[in-house]
Amino acid sequence: MKSTALLLFVFLLWHPAAQAQEPFYKGKNLTIVVGTKAGDVYDLYPRLLAEYWSKYIPGNPNIIIQNVAGAASLIAANQVYNLGKPDGLTLGAIYPALYFDQLTKRPEVKFDWTKFNWIGSTVRSNHLLYMRADTPYKSMEDVRKASTAPKCGATGTASTGYYMPKLFEETLGTKFDIVAGYQAGQDIDLAVERGEVQCRAFTITAYFAREPFISWRKRNFVRVLIQTGKKRDEKLSDVPTIYELMDRYKTPEPPRRLTTVVLAAGDFGRPIVAPPGVPADRVKILRDGFAKAIRDPNLLKEADKRQLEIDPTSSEELESLAKEVIAATPEVVERMKKLIGQETK
């Protein structure tokens, strides 16, 4: 009995010391909770990352993807933020626009966007709006002057298909009729092909990576009217940015502030987050590892093959961006509510 106790005592003395020599992540599972169903584009990025990230984390943990889909990744964000034990072994891959819900004070939001430990984002996603080429709307100017508004397809009110055209309305004085309720983005493209709706706002990346857009561009079926990046995308050098148009139409300051807050979602891109309370040294390990992994030539080659564009955002940038968007004034928040379909009372 005595000897057992002694053994235990020695072991306890020895054990933490032994751990300190070994990297924390050695032999452990690092879980990434993905806020969408498997196979979604939001899911493909963390899966790609998981294959290369481990190499750059001392101890080479086993990286596991867990899909917790639902409520536009709000469930995953809540779950990761409120972990019982924030030990740095569970991360989240969540939607970039979730801070809209925090700003508009949705009661279901159980996180503080500024307190997440931001690890990094795989790709920035700026947006564009395409319009069928056989419509009279050749430019945003035409949409402004048109007597009947073009119809843009959208899935739900929380989607870019819905709030981007609304944002253009707010800032540029263009009018769009938004037809919401399509099952998925591809159903909108089909509806455009059929002529049911004429336009759709979504990511530039997808526009250049996928069908039907590849064939559409070949037969000049649609025309891109506007893009949301600060600079023109090199593949869309003849398309004006929202900022250029705001200058042209002398957009006043309040809608401009709204634009900054809304479009920040594009810079958040496809973020990976850790909950608050994770020890700082582990956060640093994860961040450094991410920054290296995302530049790994093999990852880039594989991403290219899978047609996943890589354009990372650093953890520092994400962190300051998060503070910036949450500091939005009540006035901006009121405008935002209108944008995402929540009428102000």
């Binding site: 493909l44 917790v68 889909a69 709000l74 809540n78 159903d187």
Partner: protein, 501 residues
């Protein structure tokens, strides 16, 4: 074209493609058989494995081969246990399970397997034949037309109501109301979510179907305290009879296969809807209306053929536009991109052989799985002679695991339980369950397309020639049985035999 057709065939049979096909079939075989665990969830799990396969045809042999057979083996579980093997196999329970209880399991299984084979071949041929006309075919149906088609689907609640039309309509109405749960896409308002995030995305069909159909059967098995098939362990007979049934009712099988293809092509709809429509179609044609729900082989043939033929139909918009026709096709599309293929018009020009390879995969996979099914039928049927008490823990385990794969959420388990209790009460008080399922499935789709049609065209869409024609067809299908059958002895029944509970 012929060259690509032949080349596709040989590419599927070449090594290692054929090996991958066999692996895919093996996985799909068990996934289909296990209650609740569905093709879609498994496809998502298997997708990362396919990343390592660098060639398109072998990758597709694996994924599509797996998907192609889940429908077939799912039917077997429905027939033998009265528990849906797949969400899209639930309709086979209605007549298949009573057949098992009557001791006609062999015939039911034979009929289901053969009709699945015929369905898959029809689906694959439809895919092959429609290659030149794919685009206009898919573009034919806009939101207004889809809305009317969904309404037509809702009218089938009448046929699925069984003895009491009033109960059926009420159950269907309850289903439509349950479909309203969630975030409304038009205004973003939350309906009946009670502050619960799980309910934002509306009820997932898998836990609802599994709860509604599987739990009552398991309870029933526990109460009876015997094995599923009673106490007479005999050899399975009548399998060949079931196979021949397919040719006795050949045109029914063909019509239901085409229903499947058609619902596969239409976006959003699919096997989940096609099974009920084809079941309703099959029992409507019965001479003796009272036979439905009591083990009429037609009620097995119809949905058996339709669920597998949707796979071919599903692939049509996926290949023609690069626009997936269903959830599983969206995943397959991802796999196509990873192996470096861009589905769409370009692929039809440059890699037509891959498209034809898909056709061949659908056909070959189903032929193989049918052969395997016939070989092991006796072993499978033997499961129904195992004492219920030994079987129930496993069934419950798989049922809940299967539900859980829908969203990986505890909400899935709770929904399964709630609908399980509801299903039990419905059976007890003789309320028909299929109208409820049809309501839940179609409610959301109907709502969305109504909104889209109105937002896009105002009220003008009501006068589109295509819409007017579809409305007329709907009215005729509703009125037809009432006009022709003067002496109606009763409507289609779905209920289990009286000795059940």
């Amino acid at each position: 074209m012929i060259e690509a057709f032949v080349s596709g065939f040989w590419q599927v049979l070449a090594w290692p493609a054929f090996g991958y096909l066999l692996i895919g079939i093996t996985v799909g075989f068990f996934v289909g058989l296990l209650p609740g665990i569905g093709g879609l969830a498994t496809l998502a799990l298997m997708l990362p494995f396919s990343y390592t396969i660098k060639e398109p045809v072998p990758a597709f042999c694996f994924l599509l081969g797996m998907l192609a057979v889940t429908g077939t083996t799912g039917d077997l579980t429905s027939i033998l246990f009265g528990i849906p093997g797949e969400g899209s196999s639930a309709a086979l329970i209605l007549d298949g399970y009573p057949m098992s209880k009557k001791g006609e399991a062999g015939r039911a299984l034979g009929a289901a397997i053969m009709s699945s084979l015929i369905g898959s071949v029809v689906g694959a041929l439809a895919l092959a034949l429609s290659i030149p006309i794919m685009r206009p075919l898919v573009l034919l149906f806009g939101s207004p037309e889809l809305f009317i088609i969904v309404i037509m689907g809702i009218t089938f609640i009448g046929t699925l109501s069984g003895r009491s039309m009033m109960k059926g309509l009420l159950a269907g109405g309850a289903g439509l109301m349950l479909a309203a749960i969630g975030v409304d896409p038009q205004t973003g308002s939350l309906r009946y979510t009670f502050g619960n995030l799980y309910l934002w995305d509306r009820l997932d069909l898998v836990p609802v179907v599994v709860g509604l159909f599987a739990i009552p059967e398991i309870v029933d098995l526990a109460v009876r305290g015997t094995s599923i098939a009673g106490s007479k362990p005999e050899k399975l007979t009548g399998v060949w009879d079931g196979v021949v049934d397919n040719f006795r009712h050949f045109w029914l099988v063909m019509r239901c296969s085409l229903i499947g293809v058609y619902f596969g092509v239409l976006p959003v709809l699919g096997a989940n809807v096609a099974q009920w429509i084809s079941y309703a179609h099959a029992v409507r044609g019965l001479k003796d209306k009272n036979a439905a729900g009591k083990g009429a082989v037609e009620g097995v043939l119809g949905p058996g053929a339709a669920t597998t033929s949707t796979r071919g139909g599903d692939l049509i918009p996926t290949v023609a536009f690069g626009i997936p026709g269903s959830g599983s096709m969206a995943l397959l599309l991802g796999a196509l991109l990873i192996v470096g293929l861009q589905p769409g018009p370009e692929m039809l020009k440059t890699r037509l052989d891959v498209t034809f390879a898909m056709v061949w995969i659908l056909i070959i996979a189903n032929i193989i799985v049918c052969g395997v099914c016939f070989l092991i039928l006796n072993q499978l049927a033997a499961l129904t002679f195992i004492r219920g008490h030994l079987l129930i823990p496993f069934l419950l385990f798989f049922v809940f695991i299967g539900s859980f794969t829908a969203n990986n959420s505890y909400g899935d388990l709770i929904v399964t339980l709630i609908f399980g209790v509801m299903g039990y009460l419905m059976v007890l008080f003789q309320w028909p369950r299929p109208p409820l399922i049809l309501g839940v499935t179609l409610g959301k789709i109907a709502e969305n397309y109504l909104w889209i049609s109105t937002a896009a065209y105002g009220a003008k869409w009501l006068l589109f020639p295509s819409v007017v024609i579809l409305i007329m067809i709907t009215i005729v299908t509703v009125a037809y049985p009432t006009i022709t059958i003067k002496e109606r002895t009763g409507r289609a029944r779905y209920e289990r035999p009286g000795d059940a509970i």
